[in-house]
């Protein structure tokens, strides 16, 4: 595709809160589309994502970085906000500092300010979607998801959750592509946990290459053994994601294929809901995942 006169630029601000950068690194691993498609080219003709602020890759630092951030966030509903990481709310927000033009503030305050003017928010990764690893018991920094931070402040914005620790790059780029081609996924296209059904609509267990072993009662009892990983604590039976058919890193491998049980990393309350990771889930424990009465969807609930 060459340059076009009818190019619509879609400004984006990528805010990192309490994060490990695993989500952005995973997005860099995308194959089709890949990161070059995403920030340099325009694989969806006529539309280009202008990544105005992304701390891991952007050229600018310090004041120069804060200037373009300020100029972008001034435009009401003029940008999409991608949030990577959970929002630390403990100690009045002092567990996480954030810079803004002319001042230093907290990540918590900054996340709310940036959300206020955003057109929509993509919560990238399990920390941003549900608190994730950063909110694991005893949650020392008081981390919450961006959605929870917003409702705590009474801010109403569309939030699309793209969980995973980290998420598969396709889950992110596919959600972006949907937004560019058809607009934000509507209520019918997301589940009760706020995730696009396209990627999170089926159970890992139902798609797994080792499902046949489960049906045949062939179970691995130690790491490295063939067979279904149910006895080794696999959380595939209650985890909603298409990892087995999509596979990670360009389709090379994924957890269960590599002999390691599914950790349920796309679910609300990961990792606490999944620990001990090697403990077999029993039928009595399955109520940790319950059906939402209103929508009829399965949702993960915290253990009592």
């Amino acid at each position: 595709m060459g340059e076009g006169d009818d190019m619509t630029e879609h400004p984006a601000i990528w805010f990192q809160a309490s994060a490990c950068s695993g989500c952005v690194v995973s997005v860099l691993n995308g194959v089709a589309p890949n990161i070059r498609d995403l920030i340099v080219d325009h694989r969806v003709p006529g539309h280009h994502v202008s990544l105005r602020f992304q701390p891991t890759v952007m050229a600018a630092a310090g004041d120069a970085a804060l200037e373009i951030l300020a100029a972008t966030e001034e435009v009401k509903e003029g940008y999409v906000l991608v949030v990577e990481g959970a929002v630390p709310t403990g100690a009045g927000g002092l567990f996480g500092y954030a810079a803004k033009r002319g001042a230093q503030t907290t990540m918590h305050a900054r996340a709310l300010e940036l959300a206020e003017n955003a057109l929509a928010i993509v919560a990238l990764g399990t920390c941003s979607s549900y608190g994730g690893m950063h909110a694991a018991e005893p949650n020392p920094a008081g981390c919450v998801s961006i959605g929870e931070a917003l409702s705590g402040a009474g801010i109403e914005k569309p939030v699309i959750n793209v969980p995973g620790c980290p998420p598969h790059p396709d889950w992110f780029t596919g959600t972006v592509a949907h937004a560019l081609l058809f607009g934000l996924p509507g209520p019918d296209a997301v589940d009760t946990a706020g995730r696009p059904k396209r990627f999170y609509g089926r159970l890992v267990h139902d798609l797994c290459q080792r499902r046949g072993d489960f049906e045949a009662h062939k179970f691995a009892e130690a790491a490295g053994e063939p067979g279904c990983l149910y006895e080794l604590g696999c959380k595939g039976p209650w985890t909603h994601a298409d990892c087995p058919e999509r596979e990670f890193n360009g389709g090379v491998n994924w957890c269960v294929k590599a002999g390691s049980p599914c950790q349920g990393c796309v679910e609300p309350f990961f990792p606490d809901v999944s620990c001990p990771i090697y403990a077999k889930i029993g039928l009595l424990e399955l109520p940790r995942i319950v059906r939402d009465e209103e929508s009829g969807e399965l949702v993960a609930v915290r253990r009592p």
């Binding site: 990192q16 695993g22 080219d41 100690a91 620790c165 990670f248 090379v252 002999g259 950790q263 990393c265």
Partner: protein, 522 residues
């Protein structure tokens, strides 16, 4: 610039995590520097009371750039806790090395091209490109459209490469995106997925080697070896030739240490005495080797936001009380010291320790580069020295991995899998792409009751210690001349040469009260 002024760079971008750097310059010369970690997370506390086997999967989530080194440190630590540290099968040992080695390649390529290069390379030189390189064609069209984020804005006024060299480096920037992705694909052959691999566990690995997997690994490794030798190292030298003054600045503490890493055997259970690809040790500017005793490490917190009474402890006895907003503090990072002195860790430290210990591979690489640059070893104690050491290390690790992959034996054991013991304690020290990383754990009643990490950037980006000695990155900044306070290239080039990884370094916490409460429950 003239007079005394404070230059603050916040955020430092193109690193991992949240870092603020402030320097006080007098007539352009840096007199004082402060590195400030901006985020506190408390990972150690989150690991307490869990099944010890969960630690290698969860603790790596401190960092999405170098999770494998944490999984490795954690697995080594748990091997010791479980009493099986001498019994990891060879297949498990080798796959662990391949997964960690692949992460080194990914991390070093990412660091040079995507984190550091935009300080030296002017990507706008591709604006009127007319050749057949589709990567540059893509960049040219991008520039013509006029929306230049995330490549603009940037600091201006010191891009020194020729137009052709800039274009070539810009093309390699895009190519390196593909190379680093291939390194992660290679990693996931034996690691399952990346980031946050799943293959490395206590006792060994979960994958099973087969001929096709070995070939899939070697195929990508060969592509990466060609990239490292034919593109990455020449690009570092191109930058070095144009920015030769950066061999003279950014030296810092001139004390280096390495725990050693990448296991060549598993029978020796004392990790710093074990035969490893990276030898352990310490070295100073005289390049004379000194032994490393991990017991002599203590962490200071006088200038960190933790309560003063917890200062000066060995990490295995660390007890930290967060004190947000403490007056004398300016960072969430603690200050680890070896016998009271700050030490730099990372690829340069590993290279110099290996060189000092007479490692033939390291000596050959160092002498080759120094003769090409017609320089003495002191030139390596610098911004460009760190970049060169990183590139040479990528080459050496890639070469070694070919041999390691050939050691895999399909059908033989991969893991000494065990249920957790009732009690145990252990230490796992190894090397991450950014430097020395250590995990310490204690098990009681089959659960983790203590978990501590000391990570590379805690060493490098540490604030002043209890004696007021600045950390390695701070010392590297002091004495530097800043030519233009509006565009402080020198500051970001020095800081980025350390490849800081803030996610790792700001996790350390064991709030006293909560830990005691938990201990009583146990």
């Amino acid at each position: 610039m003239s007079g005394r002024e404070t230059i603050s760079v916040d955020p430092i971008t193109r690193i991992e995590g949240h870092l603020k750097v402030e320097v006080v310059a007098d007539n352009g010369e840096v007199k004082e520097a402060r590195c400030s970690g901006q985020l506190f997370r408390g990972f150690e506390l989150m690991l307490l009371n869990r099944d010890p086997r969960d630690a290698s999967l969860l603790s790596q989530r401190v960092c999405g750039v170098c999770p494998v080194a944490h999984a490795m440190a954690s697995a080594l630590c748990l091997d010791a806790c479980f009493g099986i540290d001498g019994r990891v099968p060879d297949n498990g040992r080798v796959m662990r090395n391949l997964v960690l080695g692949a992460n080194f390649l990914q991390s070093h390529i990412l660091h040079f091209y995507h984190l550091a290069a935009l300080d030296f390379v002017d990507v706008t030189a591709g604006a009127d490109y007319e050749g057949a390189d589709d990567r540059l064609g893509s960049l040219r069209d991008f520039i013509k459209r006029g929306e230049l984020a995330p490549f603009m804005p940037r600091y201006e006024g010191d891009y020194r490469l020729s137009k052709e060299a800039n274009q070539q480096a810009a093309s390699h920037y895009v190519q390196a995106l593909e190379a680093r992705r291939a390194a992660h694909e290679m990693l996931s052959v034996f690691g399952g997925k990346m980031p946050h691999q799943v293959g490395i566990v206590v006792g060994g690995c979960t994958e099973t080697p087969t001929a096709d997997k070995i070939a899939a690994f070697l195929s990508r490794l060969e592509m990466l070896r060609r990239f490292i030798e034919g593109i990455y190292i020449p690009d570092v030298l191109t930058v070095a030739e144009a920015y030769g003054d950066y061999f003279e600045i950014g030296g810092g503490v001139k004390r280096w240490l390495s725990y050693g890493g990448l296991e060549l055997e598993t029978e020796e259970t004392n990790l710093v005495a074990r035969e490893r690809f990276f030898p352990s040790g310490r070295v100073g500017a005289d390049l004379k080797p000194a032994a490393l005793d991990v017991g002599r490490i203590a962490e200071h917190v006088r200038h960190s936001w933790y309560a003063d009474e917890s200062s000066g402890r060995h990490p295995s006895k660390g007890e930290t009380v967060p004190a947000p907003g403490k007056e004398s503090g300016y960072s969430w990072i603690k200050a680890p010291r070896y016998e009271g002195e700050p030490y730099e860790v990372g690829p340069l430290a590993r290279l110099l320790v290996a060189y000092a210990r007479g490692d033939r591979g390291a000596r050959g690489e160092v002498e080759g580069v120094l003769s090409r640059l017609d320089a003495k070893p002191e030139a390596l104690f610098s911004v460009l020295g760190r970049h060169a050491a990183r590139a040479l290390e990528a080459k050496r690790v890639a070469e070694a991995m070919v041999g390691w992959a050939m050691e895999l034996r399909p059908g033989e054991p991969v893991c000494e899998w065990r249920e957790p013991p009732e009690a145990g304690r252990g230490m796992g020290v190894t090397e991450a792409p950014r430097g020395s990383v250590g995990h310490w754990a204690e098990i009681e009643g089959g659960k983790l009751v203590r978990y501590q990490l000391v990570v590379p950037t805690t060493w490098n980006a540490s604030p002043q210690d209890d004696e007021g000695k600045p950390g390695p990155m701070e010392q590297a900044l002091v004495g530097t001349r800043i030519r233009d306070a509006e565009n402080p290239f020198e500051v970001v080039r020095i800081v980025r040469s350390f490849d800081p990884c803030l996610a790792c370094s700001v996790h350390m916490l064991t709030p006293k009260g909560q830990e005691l409460a938990r201990c009583r429950v146990l």
